[in-house]
């Protein structure tokens, strides 16, 4: 139930619910009808499941998640401790 992959919109097909999406150079028409409220544009990233877009990928949230992960590591904690020792 879960296999969904991020893809980038390269074009919208006017008059339809379809978009041309690209996943690493592989292209497919994807139905974006579930994302009507999102005002999609070429360049946007969407989550594709069985040829339908389930969600628009929030690039800021993606970045935030990664940044959070980067701060979790011991390296970060070590840096922090080193900083504290200096103070």
């Amino acid at each position: 139930m879960c296999l969904a992959i991020p893809g980038q919109i390269v074009g919208l097909v006017p008059g339809t619910d379809l978009a041309d999406a690209d996943v690493s150079g592989v292209k497919r028409k994807v139905n974006v009808g579930l994302l009507d409220d999102e005002r999609l544009a070429p360049g946007d990233w969407i989550l594709i499941h069985v040829g339908f877009a389930l969600s628009k990928i929030d690039e800021q949230e993606a970045r935030a998640t990664l940044e959070l992960l980067e701060t979790l590591g011991p390296a970060f904690t070590d840096d922090l401790n080193a900083l504290r020792e200096e103070e």
């Binding site: 139930m1 879960c2 690493s24 069985v50 929030d58 949230e61 998640t65 979790l72």
Partner: protein, 374 residues
């Protein structure tokens, strides 16, 4: 691949693993269930259990919509495929699922026109191209996939396509989780919530796990870092005495889900009063059938189905594996009578079934494999 590779960074993985080991209380043994079969697949495919300390066990849940399809329903589908002029379309996952008298692959060998499709939209396209044939789409999947079936039904109705119908086997996730939680003797400390189902239904539906059963839930993405971060978040909740529904998969899952998707499901489908889940028995209001307004597209009305309830083979313990009560190797027939080549139950057939995942991916102990690869 963007939004994929960054979440497979092995350096970050090692750091997260260290944090998890640090946070886990060495006096406790944690049991976390990943509900979703896709999570099970990722865990094994990337070898994520290597990143966990020995006092964290991942228990595989029933979120494998292929695994829970009773054998009788497979037989019904084969019956439909054997009707004159029918093209039965389905996802690849279904091809090897054993029914009472063989799988789709076997039926195909015996002459049925059964075709694999990637999308329900492609099944509808076949119907358009072959007006003389009756095209039936076997719809499976949780709420992740139901909206796609729903939109396809709408498109079929709008275009007046008369030779297309859906054999609906969509199931819903919450009753499956409830069945787990009601299982006696199953001790779980927290849940990794199904990330893609949640893009549709949002995170609120899991509140009952927190409110009634007092277990923390973290809705998790499907890349290795997502799963590790979700485990970290569960540990953090437990260590801080919190019990909440949290969303780790914020880049994709909106807290309120996708209203359009829910609306599409509501328009085209309705809840069945009850439905049989392989291994879990009959569960009320746990599956979908086509709504009255879409009766013309309902394969169950168009074709008279045998509807015979086929009992699981006595040896099959899929139910307990699905509920996380048994680990795959604890099933009496695991690896002997039941193998990927000769599967008895769906847990072995489905690529995300716990048994197949363990047999194919995790067969040797992590230590032994890690030693050999070092």
């Amino acid at each position: 691949m963007r939004f994929v590779d960054e979440f497979r960074d092995s350096g970050l993985g090692r750091e997260l693993a260290a944090e998890i080991a640090r946070l886990a209380d060495p006096r406790r043994h944690y049991r976390f269930m990943e509900v979703c079969g896709g999570h099970t697949h990722t865990i094994y495919k990337h070898g994520i259990e290597d990143f966990l300390p020995p006092n964290i066990t991942l228990v595989h849940g029933p979120g494998c919509p292929v695994c829970v399809i009773p054998m009788g329903r497979v037989d019904d589908a084969i019956h439909i495929a054997s009707e004159p002029g029918v093209i039965l379309t389905c996802f690849g996952d279904m091809m090897r699922v054993p029914g009472g008298r063989g799988s789709f692959l076997d039926a195909k060998a015996a002459g049925a026109d059964i075709r694999m499709v990637y999308s329900p939209a492609d099944a509808l396209a076949i119907a358009r191209r072959e007006p003389a044939r009756r095209v039936v789409f076997m719809a499976i999947g949780f709420e992740t996939t139901a909206p796609s079936t729903a939109l396809t039904l709408r498109a079929a109705a709008r275009a007046g396509i008369r030779n297309f119908s859906v054999f609906c086997n969509h199931v819903t996730i919450v009753p499956a989780i409830k069945a787990i939680l009601d299982s006696p003797g199953l001790r779980l400390d927290g849940f990794l919530g199904p990330g893609h189902v949640s893009t549709v239904i949002g995170c609120r539906p899991y509140r009952f796990i927190v409110d009634a059963f007092h277990r923390p839930v973290v809705v998790s993405g499907f890349e290795p870092l997502d799963i590790l971060q979700s485990i970290y978040m569960l540990l953090k909740q437990l260590s801080e005495g919190r019990c909440e529904v949290e969303n780790q998969y914020t880049r994709v899952v909106p807290w309120d889900g996708n209203p359009r998707a829910i609306e599409a499901i509501r328009e085209t489908m309705k809840l069945r009063p009850f439905f049989e889940w392989r291994g879990l028995g009959f569960i009320s209001e746990s599956a979908l059938e086509l709504a009255e307004a879409y009766a013309a597209f309902d394969a169950e009305r168009i074709f008279r189905l045998p509807g015979v309830r086929v009992a699981d083979p006595k040896a099959c313990q899929c139910g307990e594996v699905l509920k996380g009560v048994l680990k795959p190797w604890e099933c009496k027939v695991f690896g002997t009578a039941c193998t990927p080549e000769t599967p008895i139950g769906t847990c072995m057939v489905s690529s995300e079934g716990a048994c197949a995942a363990y047999y194919n991916f995790g067969r040797f102990t992590r230590e032994r494999v890690r030693e050999a690869v070092r």
